[in-house]
Symmetry: D3
Subunit: 330 residues, 6 copies
């Protein structure tokens, strides 16, 4: 365990050490032991709450510095994880007061509040998504999304009968995970390869996918293959719905920043033996693609449903316009 | 080896037996030992030629009956293989004469002619396709097509530098075969999963795919995933070209018949172990899909290039309008 | 006249009876004697105001219960009439106070305020819609909408010359009512059957239609045939404008609920005699269809104009996010 | 009965009178006693055959003049009926010989041949169209077309189960006739108003309509409302098939002529009473509209199926390029 | 210099004269000596500030009247300049107080605040726009826009390498000005005529244009040719981004007003000599066209980026809903 | 004048010199003194006729060699001029006979025939195009095309009233030539810059353009800016018609060859002074662009009108399939 010096910024201010839980959490996020947008955000909120509650500094300025340092430490672990800035902004924006005690109270309360909202977000989203589904509907899924499953589960809880066509979603075939989860909800499942999806769209009432993140211009960043699915679904006039908690909204895109697409290891696409057999080739394995809002009919969140072109309104409500990140202020 | 009685139809006419090569060929086609549209057509032409040359019947009527019986036997082996009726029609339509000798000569000559044309067709097609390619172009492929490779090989032979983006083409990953063949032509290859194709279309100058068969309404039946690729390519204004010898043109579609899509074994899609882990699901594995002509820019054949909406003209030139199959005439 | 017991919910609380006007209004709405979105909402506001002003209960809790019971009674008459929850929410959300007198005052005032706004809404909307119209423009209408007529009347009042192409709008031919109203505004009218609309779109400057209700995802629910008209208008690049007071915005859709399409009697479509002549057939008579926002250029309300993708912002401003219906609270 | 002088053209040539049957037929066509594209063409062929067989002229030149005069008389009855020039061209183009006897024989034979082909055309077309239909398919129809019914009847004869959604087709509601005919073929029928068609397209496998005439540029002229149906069907990717005998192909369009759209009486659209109630309005009642080839998937004829963009090839095969009308030659 | 009497409205109220700077500014705007949306707005803000600071009236009512008169005078100079009402509303809406001193202070402060925001707006916008650009991108421009240049300059300042394809933009060839400015930023420039833009879109990563004004329905009014460019860019799936400070948002469009398109002198299109050579013709020279939101991917402002369908939200935040112009109140 | 030795090819065959007119014609074509597709083709036909008529060789083989040499000489002058191979193929394909006299006669006759057809082609085309135009129509033109003018002239000769919107067509502003020619036909002309075309499409009944050449896949190669115009016209559902004599059909495209786009001098785009003022830039000046058939409604030729997807049928009728050029045979 490493104790970090957080001083230095703040001029002649005395330094202070972060609570060990912050570092533990940071390392767990960095190593992807803690993963998934909501799980990461929840862990970060807990770490900030612990830091606030156990801070031993004696001045308000030191407290603020310390909390910002904790946020920085957490943020740097996975700078592209969209849910981290969501959490950090929420808590730091509510850190208010003139004394350490006041600051401690407001910060801890904000962190607790964020965690509480996170806990119910997926169920609330599921309730909204289920409202779009009707008895007898067929849903097509891509990849694996717990937000999507939450919608289907909520519908099943109300006794709505659904069936599903599940795309396997190469390269990692997360469709298999989705298929299994749907079977546990007693939903009849038809599994198809990605290239076969188009052939089944005429039987589909809703294309229902999750999101890795959502941008202020309404673009949906999701597992590779989503855009082709959306384009093809629109060509057949099948509605495409994105289920995404607000923790997936990327505040940096409000000021024009674009989302960097991650490239994963080629071993997901081809085995070493297959590759050796082919000869010298390049393998490209982008994890995500970008679906423009014109191919999406609705984004379902725990705060209700939105046309993708209006999600910017919710983002501004949640994050304001400020482009600076509060953990870098002073 | 089985000697077949071909008599019966034709009333009191004496029966005659087919040459054993016809049966051998029929069995080889039925067992898929002989496979591939052009290979099947070539084998059928050879069998008809042998039958004509070695027929031992003594009347013109018997000769005609016997040749029709041979055609029927060959046709029934794989009634959906589009190249079989192509061959059988070509030869039987040219069976002319009043004596056995005349019939023997015209029939054997027609079969030989068909074989000769078949032999040069792929190279001729390649020369046409290569004319569309320019130095520095990038081609995207789907599945594995020797007609496509013929175009690229012809271009390479002229010193044209090309690069290729190869879709792996689930479930059978024939993209790997294509990648290997392209490497042998010294074409730089980038391999991607099917869902990632859209992300690379902006860099692509030609989507170049083969065909399983082509219908009179201009629809292209090809490996599952072709339609989505074509729809997405059109959305980005990337030309899509189909390379298909005329042996892929399905004469039955002239009279409105549609092409039956084959469903293959689910084991291509999912292993038994994966399936057991998921639970009770349906797996659908259509081998082909149907791309309407509005998503195809050109069909390249050994007889030149055509907009898909005009391929019917070439079909009528090759097959006429008669809807009856000549091997069923009397 | 029936006096309803509203107690029961609220535990041991003493029950109280609703004012007879509430029941009278409820029956008038149920029997469709009172019809039209704005008229229904106005009647409901009046009934709530009467109930509040004449309530004889003695505790604040009883008052609240009684008003909720009145709202429930009104709501159940036509649970799919979108303007009812608009009114009921507006009034009950503003029922505030600790004493019966305070509650009475705030509730009656809210009801009066709602009625006042309703009274000017159509004129305000008309003024906004008229701003889009220019001298010499031709408008195409579908069905009959007083909101649409308000736009045209406002334009005529300013001396703007317009002409109209009126679709008859089967099955009920409400186009005839529109034609008559337009003639009274001295607008030259050309009447066409629904199938002929496309032929005249090139001469049309604005397709101008009303709405039965509008959903949070921007979809416009309006008289059957609207969607086809919008699709065809978009194909010819003719702008389509929806005129709809905010009383048509459906708050339930904020949480994903979809609008149930009503099916009307088959006698609107076919006479008994015609039907007998044909034999056993099914007649389907959906009253409305759903036009997605991508086929609508603007929604004109009394609060200004909006792209359909942004109407959710106005809905959230008017109704907030709460998904529970206030008359079911406690 | 009126005997017409046909002389004058041809210089000093002696005049000759037409056979009374020609005039009878002409009057029957003009009065619409004889109606329907195929019926008109058949009657004209019969009249020409009678004229040829009973001509009493003595020189070849007189015979030719007389036949042209007969053709002119028939043509002028309904100059916009597309099947008339089809018939007249077919017969006059085959009028060959140096003597009256030769001319008589060739002309009468051509007329008989035309009639014979006409007789089987609808059945042949039906057989082609039925090949596109599969067991369990749902067909949507517009207006009333015996060519469409022939496809469905052929399918039913093969035991194919179909169901139909029938648009009523204002103003004349020919959908009722179609519904009745389909019931006689034991096809389950759902009747909807025209505006409701879009709502049912997702359940439809084929939009199947007839044609009034077809132009060389691939445009389909058919009952008003066809274009909107086709545009909406394309938006939902439902195939649209036009069933039309070659007698509907308009030879004048080969040289760029466009098809004049007929306007029918306003009493089809609105009753006098309804109109009086509304006030001064214009009623426009175009009988047909023009669907561009890009919204049509296939044209089914007795000569096989064609993409609409290729129907020009069949037209050139049938009519050649000559733009002059043979009855005006000399 | 002309001293204007502003009294009259306000009944028996004593009149007061405007400060000479208001008139000077008004004349400079009217003569187009002061031009450009931001420059006009800044000049108007300065004039209002001067008027407020130097007003010599003695009552609050007179002060209000006088400021409104100043606003009216400024507004009437170029009633279609979208930035004028932006400025005037901002300042007058913040004119508050019961005494002349209070009114003077609030009004002058509002004017100063407006000027300050204006000063940083273009840089802020540039920072947002630059966030969308990546190293190696190619940008296509139309006409000349300092907002567009600000995005590119900000990107260049961060060391991002860009290249540009510049449309010349007939009739005034402002593309030349853009080309020169880009060269000063060391951006490689390719100049093409307007008709050639489509040919280069495949190489373009962003179409980046400015705006003359933006309407509440999301429409972008910009230099003639923008719409064709956007339509063509969408057909090739090239993103189109509009860079526009909020001073370009037209508040009148919130209430449905449309933007009047200005027609400029024909001498911009054709020289007198060319025209004389041709003969009698009409020359039409519209300065702007209207691009609907469905062809625009994002609007970049100093307040962040927005899908065009959501810009109405920002407009309502800035301007509220009131449709009356505050300078016409009383 | 230069006498060319044509021998060498043909083995030991004695050489022969070309007629001086061949060289004169070749030089006139090369220097663009002779220009325009039809003019070039006519000059080439005349040169071949002269060569045939005045050949002084003594053997059939020498005659053939000499004519091929003449064709080669003519062809090499502008290898991309599409009308040259049209002419050369037509004549050489008809060079038949065993003696010099026979060869001379057939060749000279073929050349004369080609010239005769060429002479009437434009008028015939005009008659076809005029059939599409109706009284009161408005036509939009791009660049300058005598084929387009021929359609309008034919319509005017029939008394049809037309008006025209003429795009100036940068860089060379050939719209001015078109405007002048239309004024001579008494057609009212409105001139607009290229970017303004979209704004007027709603008033336009036909976009009517010429072609530089037409490819077998239906693509139309025409003056830069045609594609954008066609895309925009389609978006507004305005028909786009291409007027092109068959001499514009490019036989090489039947075998997949693509049309090389010519780049012209940058001085057409920008003056030296303008360029010096801007600094170092690249100017790209492509003369033509490629419009895919899906944006063209009809191609009007002297042989009738065709959907662009069917022009390949006419090309095969005119040129057959042979890909070798007859002047390179032997």
């Amino acid at each position: 365990m490493v104790f970090l010096h957080t001083g230095g910024e703040g001029g002649g201010m005395t330094t202070a050490t972060l609570h060990p839980d912050v570092e533990t959490t940071a390392e767990a996020i960095a190593s992807m032991e803690v993963r998934g947008a909501a799980t990461i955000a929840g862990a970060a909120a807990d770490a900030l709450q612990t830091q606030a509650e156990h801070s031993e500094v004696s001045t308000a300025a030191e407290f603020r510095n310390q909390l910002r340092a904790a946020a920085r430490r957490l943020h740097e672990t996975r700078p592209t994880a969209v849910s981290l800035p969501n959490c950090l902004r929420y808590v730091l924006d509510r850190m208010e007061g003139d004394s350490v005690e006041e600051l401690r109270a407001t910060t801890a309360a904000a962190a607790a509040e964020f965690s509480a909202r996170l806990e119910t977000a997926q169920d609330d989203l599921g309730a909204v998504g289920a409202n779009r589904l009707r008895d007898g509907d067929t849903v097509m899924t891509h990849c694996h999304s717990t937000d999507v499953l939450s919608c289907i589960e909520a519908a099943r809880d109300r006794g709505i009968e659904l069936s599903a066509i599940v795309k396997e979603t190469r390269p990692r075939k997360q469709g298999h995970i989705t298929a299994k989860a749907l079977r546990e909800l007693d939903v009849p499942v038809t599994l198809v390869v990605d290239g076969a999806a188009g052939r089944y769209l005429k039987e589909v009432d809703h294309v229902l996918v999750g999101a890795d993140s959502i941008a202020a211009d309404g673009a949906v960043i999701n597992k590779i293959g989503t855009r082709s699915l959306a384009v093809t679904a629109r060509e057949r006039d099948t509605p495409i719905v994105v289920a995404a908690q607000t923790v997936k909204l990327d505040p940096a895109t409000l000021s024009g920043h674009t989302v960097e697409i991650e490239y994963r290891d080629e071993s997901e696409v081809i085995s070493e033996r297959e590759r050796d057999d082919i000869g010298e080739i390049t393998v490209r394995n982008p994890a995500f693609d970008v679906t423009p809002p014109r191919y999406v009919d609705a984004i379902v969140t725990e705060r209700g449903q939105f046309p993708p072109e209006s999600i910017v309104t919710l983002m501004r409500e949640l994050f304001g316009e400020q482009t600076a990140t509060p953990w870098e202020n002073e």
